[in-house]
Each structure stands twice: as C-alpha cells, then as structure tokens.
C-alpha cells in the first residue's frame, strides 16, 4: 500500500503541498524574506549600540583645588577606566557655563586640603557636580562615581600609613548583569519582539492574500481541511521565525557577549511555543480582516505595541500600573522575555521555566483554535 493510499498519507500530502507552495511564494519574493531576516540583525545592532542605556565615556571636568599627589590620584581613578573622559577647563565656579554648553556632564571638585584630611585619617571630601537633566544618565553616573570612590578609598585604606574610612554609600551591583550592560538585558526582549512582529505580519499577509486573490475559495472547494491549511501555512513561517531567533542569539552572543547559560534546546522549545502563538494571532487577524492592508495594520499594532511595552522588555513589569500588569498577563511576549532571560542569563532549566512555557502553550492553543473556528464560519 502506497503512502498516498492511506489517510495519514493524504493528510501529509496536503499539508506538504500547502507548505511547499508557501516556501515557493517566499522564494519568489526574496525581499520579504530578506526583510524578515535582516530586520532582526539591524534592530539588534541599533538597540545594542545606538539605543544603549549604558553610560560610558562621560565627559568629566576636574577642578583640582588641592593640586597634590593625592588629588591627582583621585582624578586619575575616575578617568583610567575610560568610564569618564577628562575634558579641559577646571573652573568649578563656572559649573553652569560648563553644563549649559555641554562641555562636560560631570565636574569633579577636589577642595583645598584634601590630601591633609586624608593624612589625618579623614574624612576627606570631594564633590561631584552632575548635569541631571538626563535623569537616567545622571543616575548611572552617580552609581559609577560611587563605585570608583569606594574602590579608591579601599585602595588607600590598604596602603600603609594611611587609613581612610569609606566616605560614600555604595550600591550592590546587579547579580545577573554585573556590568549592567543593556545588550544583555535587551537581547532576550528584542528576540521576542522581532519574532512577534514578523510572525504575526507574515501569516496575516499570506492568509489575507489568499482571501484577496480568491484562492481561498479554490482551496475550500478541494478536500483540504481548515486544519491542513492552517498547518501548511504556519510551518514555513515557524521555520523563518526560528531562524530569526537563532540570528538574534548569534549576533547577541558574538557581538554583545550575551551568555547562553542554559540549554539551547529549551530556548528552541520556548521559541516554537511563542511562535505558534504569534502565528495563530496572525492567522486570526487575517481571518477577520480578509484584506492585506487591514491585516498589515492590525498585525503590526497587535504585535508591536504589546511586545514592546507590555513584555517587560523595556519597562519592568513590576513598575507598571496594576491595570497594565494585569493586561501583560495575556501578552505572550511577556512569558517569552522572561523565559529567555531565565534560560540565557541565569541558566535556569525546565523546572524553573515551565510556567512560562505553559502560558505560551495555552495562548497558542487558544488562539489557533479560535482562528480555526472563525475560519469555519466564513464558508457556512
């Protein structure tokens, strides 16, 4: 008995025929594929470099009024790691001018008598003036200055003949991203965000295209079932989505040193579950919209905004108002971002990640079922 003769064989033949046709469509339209694959890399580079939340090479003006070896040593401590770049001009009285002309973002003022105070056993005082117009930057500068001051006072305390107590409070650095690099923080979020957009858009477009062309009726007139259409349509885009995920992770690990501490297989599993939900969402939109223009609009809005704003990718979910926190519970990107951060950055396994996986599975099953049900009603 040939494969084609059996029920399962015909099912596979039909799903395969639809998937193969979809692959041919993709191949005939390389621009869309290129867009789908280049977009993640470009976005990641943009976010990783351009939209960095890291504050580096802060322009620092030093006003050294002590002019001693100890004061020069402190100024050097700030600049030697390139976290601060020294700029000329050391007139502390003119701080306003310096800030207004953006000549420096911070001014280190070391008062007369700094070395003497140190020699007496402290407390020695130095002042850091901050341009706090950009609160985010200011906060980070403050943290860095704290860290430098702490390490400097520890160094002096360990030096013979000088005892200086730490004069500044120092915050504990974060555990999973010790250098607080935003690439490490952003890559999992970005992976989810990009997969969401392209998965929703691509399926919404391809299915809406079949309605628009009238080919859907031709398919309905054949023995192809709804489920076979859905599976055949989703499979190629699932593969495209997984390639995107691998690309983002590849660029993330190689360019931005994002670690992959956990199991790559678990990452793939999370990816498949998340993509299934997103593809289902695209399918639902196209079943409702039935034309490509509306499907594009609805597809981008429904994938872009929630996965950008409600996923915890940029704004921590704990910091959201209660209403948004509640809404974020039905945003699959939230679970994907959390799962990825857990697996990649903490090395967590299935035992910790399963609630996220379960949530994505529930969403995927629910939305594909809803889309298939709506699909049926159209032809009654």
């Amino acid at each position: 008995m040939t494969l084609a003769g059996s029920r399962a064989g015909r099912f596979l033949a039909r799903v395969g025929a639809i998937a193969w046709k979809e692959i041919l469509h993709i191949r005939r339209d390389p621009r869309t594929l290129l867009l789908a694959l280049a977009m993640p890399v470009v976005m990641l580079l943009l976010f990783g470099y351009g939209v960095s939340f890291d504050v580096d090479r802060i322009r620092l003006a030093v006003s050294d009024q002590d002019r001693t070896e100890a004061s020069r040593r402190l100024a050097q401590a700030f600049t030697e790691n390139h976290e601060f770049d020294p700029v000329g001009g050391d007139d502390a009285d003119d701080a306003d001018t310096i800030f207004r002309r953006h000549r420096a973002q911070a001014i280190l003022v070391i008062p007369r008598g700094y070395e003497k105070d140190l020699a007496r056993g402290g407390p020695a005082r130095a002042q850091l003036l901050l341009d706090a117009a950009d609160a985010v930057t200011a906060g980070q500068v403050l943290n860095k200055a704290d860290a430098i001051a702490l390490s400097e006072s520890r160094r002096m305390a360990s030096a013979p003949g000088i005892s200086a107590a730490p004069s500044l409070q120092v915050k504990v650095s974060s555990r999973y991203n010790p250098e607080a690099r935003s690439a490490v923080f952003i890559v999992p979020g970005l992976a989810a965000y990009l997969m969401a957009i392209s998965a929703v858009l691509l399926t919404a477009l391809t299915v809406a295209g079949e309605w628009e062309r009238g080919s859907m009726e031709q398919l309905f007139a054949s023995p192809v079932s709804r489920l076979e259409i859905v599976l055949g349509k989703l499979f190629p885009y699932l593969v495209v989505g997984l390639i995107q995920l691998l690309l983002v992770l590849g660029v993330g690990t190689n360019v931005f040193d994002v670690p992959i501490l956990g199991s790559p297989l678990l990452v793939i599993l999370a990816g498949v579950l998340f993509l299934a939900g997103m593809l289902g969402q695209g399918l639902l939109i196209s079943v409702l919209a039935k034309n490509q223009l509306v499907a594009t609009q609805a597809g981008s809005l429904s994938s872009l905004l929630p996965s950008l704003l409600l996923s915890g990718m940029l704004v921590p979910i704990d910091n959201m108002p209660a209403v948004l926190r509640l809404i974020s519970r039905i945003v699959p990107a939230r679970y994907m971002v959390d799962a990825l951060r857990q697996i990649l950055l903490k090395g967590n396994g299935f035992a910790q990640v399963w609630p996220d996986l379960l949530a994505m599975l529930v969403f995927a099953v629910a939305i594909v079922a809803l889309a298939t049900a709506r699909f049926k009603r159209r032809i009654a």
Partner: protein
Amino acid sequence: MNPAHSIEAERLSRRFGSFLAVDDVSFHVEKGEIFGYLGANGAGKSTTIRMLIGLLTPSSGRASVAGHDVASDPEGVKAAIGYMSQKFSLYLDLPVEENLRFFGGAYGLWGKDLQRRADEVLELTGLAEHRKAITGALPGGIRQRLALGSAVLHRPSIVFLDEPTAGVDPEARRSFWRLIRDLSRGGTTVFVTTHYLDEAEYCRRIGLMVDGRLVALDTPAELKRTWVPDRVLLVRGRNLTAGAAALRARPGVRAAEPFGAGLHLRVDPAAWDGAAVRTVLEASGGEGVSVEVAEPTLEDVFLAVVGRGAEAQAAQEVAP
C-alpha cells in the same frame, strides 16, 4: 439517485437575507454529458455551482453530486469533483508545473503518482513546453487550459467550470472547448457556465437561468424549436424603411427591425416565406432586395427566454 445521473438537484434554493439567489431549481445531469448553465450576471449560476460543490449549504431542497449529498457529505463531494472558479484558479507567481503539483497535493496526490499525473496533464493540455514558465507571464488562454488541467489532475468524475473562458480570445476559446469535449468523450461529466452563447452550442443540454429560476432546459436544437418558433429572415437591399412599416402592419409578421444596412424579420413560417417578403418590400419602393432564411441561434432563444422571464415577473408584481 439514478445511477445514470452524475448530478441531481431537487427543488434547490438559496437565500441571502431577503434575496432569493436560487429559487426552486430542479434538474439532473447525465454521466459524461456536457451540461451548459446559462444566464445573465447575477442570475444565480455561481450560487448554484457553489451549492453543488459543497461550498454553500442550500437553504432548502437537496442535491447529490457523484452519489454524495451536498449538504450532509460536502467532503465526499469535494473529493469526487474538480472545480475551476470564476475568479481564481492559479497562483500567478509560481511556475506552471508547481501549480499542478500544488493542486495535485491538495487532492492528496503524492510522489510518483503526482509526477505521472502532472506529466499526463501537461501533455493533455499541450503545456509541456511551458512547464517551467511563470504562470503570470503566460497569455490568458494558456492559463485557462492550465486551470482546467489543475481541476482534472485527480481524475474527478465531474468537473465544474464557472465561466472558464471569460476574457479569452476566440482561438483560445476554441482550443479550450476541444479540451472539454475530449474530457467528455473520456467519460467525465462537465458542468459549465458561460456567457458566450456560441459556446453553448457545444453543450449536449443547456439550462437557462433568469433571476434565480431555471426557466428552460433542453438540447440546443429542442430549445430553438420551442422558444423560437418564428422564422428569422435577413433582408438586404435599399429603401427598405417604408417596406418595413408595411410588413409590420401585416398579420404573421412578429418583428421587423433595422439590422445593419438591412432588416431583421421574425415571421410566422406558415404565412410567410422569402418570396412573399420580397414582393411586399419591392411594392414599397425597395431596390436590390435579397432575403435569406437564418437558422435561429441560442442568442434568439436566450432573448426569448429572458423576455418571457421578465414578462412573468412583471405579471407577478402586478398580481395582488
């Protein structure tokens, strides 16, 4: 169901809201016959087809196709038939061969079976040389042949063709109809809707739809006998206007209309022949008169049927 019948429709109706698209239609189609379904746009042809192929459920009545009831077993119907829709049949961005492979796959064909059937159909439709060509780049006539090929790839016992030759040039239409006749000779039942009345002559039997009702159904010859009992005479000559008026006034002359440079007459064959018409025209000043007896065409049938359909409807509207 009569085993000699491919399609049986019994009091089939379909309502969309308050609009009755198909109204109480009954007919049967015999195995291997080419059955033409004619009617103006919106007469209910496509709706009838969509019910017969299991896409639309009938509002009332029943129909069975290839032994499957369309309402209770639409999947059985779908597997047994081929369908070429009016709007779409092919993916224009794919090569010819891939379109065939796709539709074969959609009907569950696979591997070697699929390849063999695709080759056969390419041969049958004369498209072997175009197999790698992108479908959208081919002329409409070739595309229609490919669409038909896609619809018969799985050897259905019945094919439904909805306006298959719309917008195709006459030569391509002729070669398309050769294909249809080949299919029919091979035992396939063909149910075809068309706008082109000349094509309808190729059908063994014809159903005529007016406003959702099937108002006439028979062979082309029988339809002509029933619906166009008048003799149609084509008259050529000069100065015919006065003669036409004179003819109109005589009993047995049902119409005398200007037609090109001449006249188009419909007369009672018992009362009039060519010589009698010529005598009247020449007496009214006609010169160089020649009269030719025209065989009635399906167009005449169609106009007669539509005219009576309209009269019937007008009568219905007037009735309380």
